[in-house]
């Protein structure tokens, strides 16, 4: 990858150092933080406790939570799709659809699987879709949040453009809160890995309270959100 450009850095940073009354620093170590309340939240919660919290917090944000197991996943998914008005559907291009044996249910005329070879047609299809289906990578109990590591196949549009999105989440992916997810990303950075160019934390449908502080669900993004949790 070609390196980008940086303009005016040295003058700018030297002035900052000067105002701080010293030379520029070439090395700084993070201190051992005295206050770390984030790690105490739901510290000893069991997977069932986390699921219960996730369910309650998601529902409070107008997201529906449906629990199932892998054997019934296909049936559950069909039911949810029907309940929310059926196709057209758009999905990410994700091997997990095959792993979870639900690829076939989505192999039909109403479903578009993201395909970078088709270029901007993908966006048109997602924009016209009623439902978008994708896998969540991590889920946060405290806030009813799905974390998605987007790339060219795990497209951002699938969770953004359709009226409804359905996120499939293994129960084991539920962690207490954002702390565990951001720490995971921090570990990736430390190990020298390239992190996903878009790491999306999504909690329920889009909303706004900009008019008289009245919450309206469904602004620019999806109007409905369904989380299918797989045991």
């Amino acid at each position: 990858m070609a390196k980008g450009t940086i303009h005016n850095k040295d003058v700018f940073l030297s002035e900052i150092a000067g105002k701080l009354g010293r030379e520029r620093k070439k090395d700084v170590s993070l201190p051992e933080w005295q206050h770390q309340p984030q790690w105490k939240v739901y510290k000893n919660a069991s997977p069932d406790d986390l699921l219960a919290t996730f369910r309650q917090r998601s529902q409070a944000k107008d997201a529906e939570v449906v629990e199932t197991d892998q054997a019934k996943l296909m049936e559950t998914l069909q039911k949810v799709v029907e309940e929310y008005g059926g196709g057209p559907i758009v999905t990410t291009n994700d091997d997990r659809f095959a792993e979870y044996e639900i690829k076939d249910v989505l192999d039909n005329d109403h479903t578009h699987r993201w395909d970078t070879a088709l270029g901007a047609d993908n966006i048109e299809k997602a924009n016209a879709a009623n439902i978008g289906i994708f896998f969540g990578d991590i889920a946060l109990a405290e806030s009813g949040t799905i974390v998605q590591f987007n790339d060219k196949d795990i497209a951002r549009s699938v969770s953004l453009l359709p009226i409804t999105y359905i996120a499939i989440l293994p129960k084991s992916s539920i962690v207490p809160r954002m702390t565990q997810a951001t720490h995971e990303v921090h570990k990736q950075v430390e190990s020298g890995k390239d992190i996903a160019t878009c790491i999306n934390f999504i909690s329920g449908p889009s909303n706004s309270a900009d008019i008289e502080m009245d919450i309206v669900v469904g602004v620019h993004g999806p109007v409905n959100a369904v989380y299918v949790v797989v045991e």
Partner: protein, 477 residues
């Protein structure tokens, strides 16, 4: 338009605001709701443990970051560029606008979409882009409302259109955008959605502000609710992010703490609906991501605070918790501050960024009750900084008004001369008699005028303390 709002002097703006009962009621009601939601999500939420410890964590992180700002900005810019992004350090608003104009010209851009950003309001970016032939669409619902309305300006850092009610918004949409629906927020919002969907997909450049940048990975984090920031950063081929130079954290671990403080303190949510974290370097054949990513890091007066008693003002995470508890903001609303940064933090920041000449009177828009300091999630001593500003304004850079100077001098002479003081005390009831009605003054002269224009002043009694005390002592003998 930049940071400044309106051309009237500060006290004239305050007078205008005090006469606008409708706006003041809207502000009071919004403030109550925002403050209550914040309390529910902070001190009253026992799931997150001790809120005070969270505040301490936030303060600790912000202090360390600002003390080592040059180092972390260096790290951020190198990591951002290593992944193919372009970084521009801008000393002034003009530098930032010029760079962005050049990018727009190079891309031959005509359509620009923006997500909500106070920093681009601060530098007047929309006008700069219009000057090079771009059409700019604001996409955050509140900013969209202000833009459709014409020249309206933000009255709150988090909810810029807070001063408008649904009926006004309906009328604006009807007059200026062909809306035919009712004043129901749901309908108004659906209208904005329908108007903007294609705009998002067709834009050439997407522009965002930055809640926090993450130095260790060269990433930008955006906390939003509407989904518009995701739209703005997914479909245009070019993304430009403008950040105030202090808005960064060392690593993803600290990002977690600050997003938590921001979400809970600003809108009372345990997390905003979207926290979108973007890093340059998308794959060549990626369809819904920008091909080019620019980061503009802005000083524009912020460095004036470094190494001074105001350094901790740069710890601010723009949650507006201080605005939502301020009794003065409640009465005068956002526009009276004459700056896009309002409330206590606005009264601290605006003089730092724009100087005492323009904003030196803002620190007086405070009762010094310290509610702001108590509400701040990163523990900025706001009321103390307001006092420091007042001292500086009077003693160093600024100058008290001639009238005020004369009045203080006269008071000094009067109060230090017993005979004059006695005369003034004795003469007060007689002098003020023409202004007294039913035992109080409602339209007083001279220095009483600002007070009595909005409330009653009890009329001075015929007795005064000295004569009463003399009588009292005589009686005890």
């Amino acid at each position: 338009m930049g940071m400044k709002i309106g051309d009237k002097p500060f006290f004239d703006r305050v007078d205008d605001a005090l006469e606008n009962d409708f706006m003041r009621n809207a502000m009071a009601s919004a403030q109550d709701r925002l403050r209550d939601k914040k309390l529910d999500a902070t001190e009253r939420d026992d799931q997150i443990g001790d809120w005070e410890e969270w505040r301490n964590a936030g303060e600790e992180i912000r202090r360390h970051t600002l003390e080592n700002l040059d180092y972390y900005l260096d790290q951020l810019s190198e990591n951002f560029a290593a992944k193919g992004g372009h970084v521009y350090f801008a000393k002034t608003a003009e530098d930032a606008n010029h760079y962005i104009q050049e990018v727009a010209k190079e891309k031959n851009a005509k359509k620009v979409t923006k997500s909500k950003s106070m920093v681009t309001e601060e530098i007047g970016l929309n006008e700069a882009l219009e000057d090079v032939g771009c059409h700019v669409d604001e996409t955050d619902l509140a900013e969209y409302i202000l833009q459709v309305g014409g020249n309206d300006r933000p009255s709150h850092i988090v909810v810029p259109s807070l001063h408008q009610n649904k009926e006004q918004i309906r009328d604006t949409f009807q007059e200026k955008a062909g809306y035919t629906g009712t004043e129901e927020p749901r309908e108004l919002t659906a209208f904005a959605r329908s108007q903007l969907r294609d705009v998002f997909l067709e834009a050439d450049i997407g522009i965002t502000g930055c809640n926090f940048a993450v130095a260790e990975s060269g990433s930008i984090s955006l906390a939003t609710n509407e989904g518009n920031a995701n739209m703005v950063t997914s479909y245009p081929d070019t993304q430009i992010t403008v950040m105030g130079m202090e808005r960064l954290v060392p690593t993803w671990d600290e990002l977690d703490v600050l997003i938590n403080l921001l979400s809970r303190s600003s809108v009372g949510q345990n997390i905003t609906t979207y926290v979108t974290n973007l890093t340059p370097g998308v794959e060549e054949d990626c369809v819904d991501a920008p091909k080019e990513f620019h980061l503009v890091i802005l000083d524009a007066g912020r460095s004036n605070a470094l190494g001074t008693e105001f350094q901790s003002a740069l710890h601010c995470i723009r949650c507006a918790a201080c605005v939502n508890v301020c009794p003065v903001y409640r009465q005068i609303g956002g526009h009276a501050y004459g700056s896009i940064y309002q409330g206590p933090i606005g009264a601290v920041l605006s003089p730092i960024l724009g100087g005492y000449e323009e904003y030196g009177e803002l620190p007086y828009a405070s009762s010094l009750c310290a509610a702001c300091t108590e509400a701040c999630p990163v523990k900025i001593p706001l009321h103390e900084q307001l006092i420091r500003h007042r001292e500086n304004y009077v003693a160093k850079q600024g100058k008290p008004k001639t009238g005020e100077k004369m009045a203080m001098k006269a008071f000094g002479v009067g109060a230090s001369t017993p005979s004059l003081f006695q005369m003034a005390v004795k003469g007060a009831p007689t002098f003020l008699k023409p202004f007294v009605k039913d035992g109080s003054i409602s339209n007083g002269p001279g220095p009483m005028k600002p007070w009595t224009s909005i409330r009653e002043l009890p009329a001075p009694g015929n007795d005064n303390f000295r004569t009463w005390f003399k009588e009292h002592k005589r009686g005890r003998k």
